[in-house]
Assembly symmetry: C2
Homo-oligomer: 470 residues x 2
């Protein structure tokens, strides 16, 4: 223990090293997953340069000390949660925006820059950094990259992976690998940055990234649509894809139980007479303020003529669009209001989502007759969120997880569409990945981090890790 702290102080200076007892509690866990009771990290370090990050990792390699990279600590699965005996490596002092190149459409930043600062820098030159998640003010870009963050605009702009052009990363042994590529096309050997995006701090520590910027949309049109038959939602989605193409920026589905609970708890005015089988919040972001609204109406009109949609309300103002979004955004409040519940972040291929939800409900009801599900999500992204609750007490949290993840496995879905594995979903990794896949991941982990010092215990079960390090 003394050794690693001595090394860190020697290499970073005393001011950059906080000892175990003085570490603020906020560094012990992310937003959702606390550290295991009794966990005591050896130190928190806050390096200011890639060279200092390299020095920390080299010291940890020399002393075989585990390292937990930390960004804004806004994760939901414990990826950044403290580990006993580990060095907590916070990137939060590395917050410089290094360059914004409006012609290339790129911004180059240090890993500790908050997402919102990047959005604002782009906005100031009339460009868009499209990644957007609720924690935008607190999360740091390095964490977004390490977790391949998704969020509100994936349908149009993709996940974080699709937005990263270049990267500087520090390997477990302290080697700095710099590929600050700003070019869209670069087929020179392996695309190394892909290995680190979404690896949750288990393969390297990202210190800089080059991100793509986009033109800002010039127009927005919003509609709330009601359907009496779920199959029509799929027909409508295909029609909107054809008619709006890349300008379709949201296709959010709400199932009746979610929709009714949202109206009720939020005291929202009922936008439609009567009840329907499904509701879709549709949004288009275009480039032609003069014509886009008319085109949007025409494309929806063709769906009405075809009998796909039962009722439609077109937002006549920004205020009305905001009111539609307020219904969808009740998800945050319902999470509290309907507690206790288990929240899921599942991917299932788009065309089978409705049937999958029926099957989940059937399996839950079979076990708990009081089971209720509140479903909503990004249908076009293949991503569905579910709140599952039952009246039984004590609340059978893990049993509900078990039922839903087993169903996900049976249907070939993903147990984590966007929030990662971390500690929380680690026991379920094999529900969405085969033995061969996990063995290959483990092989890559061993190759890049042979001593298993980088965020050990995350993503893989400790048993797996031990095998990998043999």
């Amino acid at each position: 223990m003394a050794d690693i702290i001595e090394l860190l102080r020697e290499r970073l200076g005393e001011a950059s090293v906080t000892l175990a007892d003085e570490i603020e509690s906020r560094h012990m866990s992310d937003w959702h997953v606390p550290a295991e009771p009794g966990t005591k990290p050896v130190a928190l370090v806050r390096p200011r340069t890639p060279q200092e990050v390299s020095a920390v990792l080299a010291a940890c390699t020399e002393t075989r000390t585990p390292v937990v990279p930390q960004g804004g600590l806004t994760g939901l699965v414990g990826g950044a949660t403290a580990i006993d005996g580990a060095v907590l490596l916070s990137l939060d002092r590395m917050r410089e925006i290094l360059e914004l190149d409006a012609t290339a459409g790129t911004i180059t930043v240090e890993a500790g820059v908050p997402l919102q600062a990047i959005q604002e820098a782009a906005d100031a030159v009339d460009l868009l950094y499209p990644l957007d998640i609720g924690s935008r003010g607190s999360c740091l870009i390095g964490g977004n990259v390490a977790t391949n963050a998704g969020g509100n605009r994936v349908l149009r702009y993709g996940m974080t992976r699709d937005l990263v052009l270049g990267m500087e990363v520090v390997l477990a042994d302290g080697t700095i690998v710099t590929t600050l590529n700003k070019m869209l096309k670069n087929n020179v050997g392996y695309d190394l940055k892909q290995f680190f995006i979404g690896s949750e701090g288990t393969l390297g520590v990202v210190t800089k990234v080059v991100l793509r910027l986009f033109p800002k949309p010039r127009s927005t049109a919003t509609a709330l649509c009601a359907f009496d038959d779920f199959d029509n939602v799929y027909a409508f989605l295909r029609r909107m894809r054809a008619g709006l193409a890349d300008t379709m920026s949201s296709f959010e589905v709400m199932w009746p139980s979610f929709f009714e609970a949202a109206l009720d708890k939020g005291n929202h005015r009922r936008p439609f007479a009567g009840q329907h089988a499904a509701y879709v919040l549709l949004e288009m972001m275009g480039t032609d303020p003069e014509q886009d609204g008319e085109h949007f109406e025409a494309v929806i009109g063709s769906a009405i003529e075809a009998g796909e949609v039962s009722d439609v309300v077109l937002a006549q103002s920004i205020g009305e669009a905001d009111r539609f979004w307020a219904i969808r955004d009740m998800s945050g409040e319902l999470d509290g209001a309907l507690a206790p519940l288990v929240a899921f972040d599942i991917s299932i291929e788009t065309g089978r989502i409705a049937a999958f939800l029926d099957e989940c409900e059937r399996r839950c009801r079979e076990r708990w007759s009081s089971a209720r599900m509140y479903n909503f999500g990004h249908l076009a992204d293949s991503n569905i969120h579910m709140f599952v609750t039952v009246e039984e007490r004590p609340f059978p949290e893990h049993e509900i997880e078990q039922v839903i993840y087993e169903c996900t496995q049976d249907w070939g879905g993903s147990i984590s569409a966007e929030i990662g594995i971390g500690l929380l979903k680690r026991p379920y990794l094999a529900y969405s990945r085969s033995e061969a896949e996990i063995a290959l991941m483990r092989r890559v982990k061993s190759a890049l981090d042979p001593l298993n010092i980088l965020n050990p215990t995350k993503v893989f079960e400790p048993l797996d890790i031990k095998l990998a390090a043999e």
Copy 2:
């Protein structure tokens, strides 16, 4: 030798194994790079299933026999060119389209399906598979994935990497890893497919892929624009990005020497009076046939008002648009007509391309006063093509490569924007990648192919490979 052939015959049946002397010459090289003189592969195998591919690789692992995966053999850098003593593993019998899911917007195919067959299958259900390259009728999708193919629509739809959702791949030891994911969002552990895309057959053999399909554009508008000052091209690009956003499908720049040679050799009518500093072929593909043309004209009109463009011709018909494209597509004929020359496929960040070309020309002229450059390319993609020719004989091919790649290195560019490294650019890998990057690539290569049987001698210099296999 006898061993490997016995094993292959035993596992695949005699009909699937062609012995050295009977291998057709077309399997010895790709479109551009012949095998080294005296090269004699031990056999060509044409498996029909992933299990047979697995059997081949397991046999090669057992006997330490190198394997060269082959698709349509349309590469340009020797990635699929035969290696002495190797088994040539052709995927050309695995050509089944397994599923097309119009709701999810995906197609699942075997690796041996030609690109054009995928384009046609998508088209038949009113969808688009956007990857498009000249060899579409001959190239196979597995090769597209292994080389991360680019082509004509990267600006709007991305490289092959951006189009692959799922993959089945066979590792060097014969392990089949299947991840036929159809979902846009899936953050369960490492995204393994990323490791194999663009790895040129050195890390695994792709046997199946799941690809994204897109709605077909409903309108096309085309213009040819002339500029008297290159800086205005950048201003124009920014304006078009803002005004057309994702509907901008091409932004092809031609420099005067290329433009004049194309008009001359192709007997094309001169579209503008006089000569200009640069020409841009601009294309928009939209979703609203009624309004898109008007919007396109309005956006270009604003550039004319701002004084950015010197002259514009809007295509009034498909025929006229085709004539504009015919000028740009003279690149193929000029390659022959201006021979001998060296053709380059370089990426440089967009805003520095013009200055980079000036510097290349200066360095070439310094050495060969007769040097001439013909430049054209995908400016918005950061990708530029150059034909360089000199009057000196014997034609100093490698010296010209040396000058241009050194300049690329000095400017932090990429020596291969889209066609890969293979054999041809192997000596120049370090011009675009640092020692740390190459060491990391090598580490991954060693982890996934510890015996170095997968396409050895490709991408890395043999010396590097030996180090990696130690």
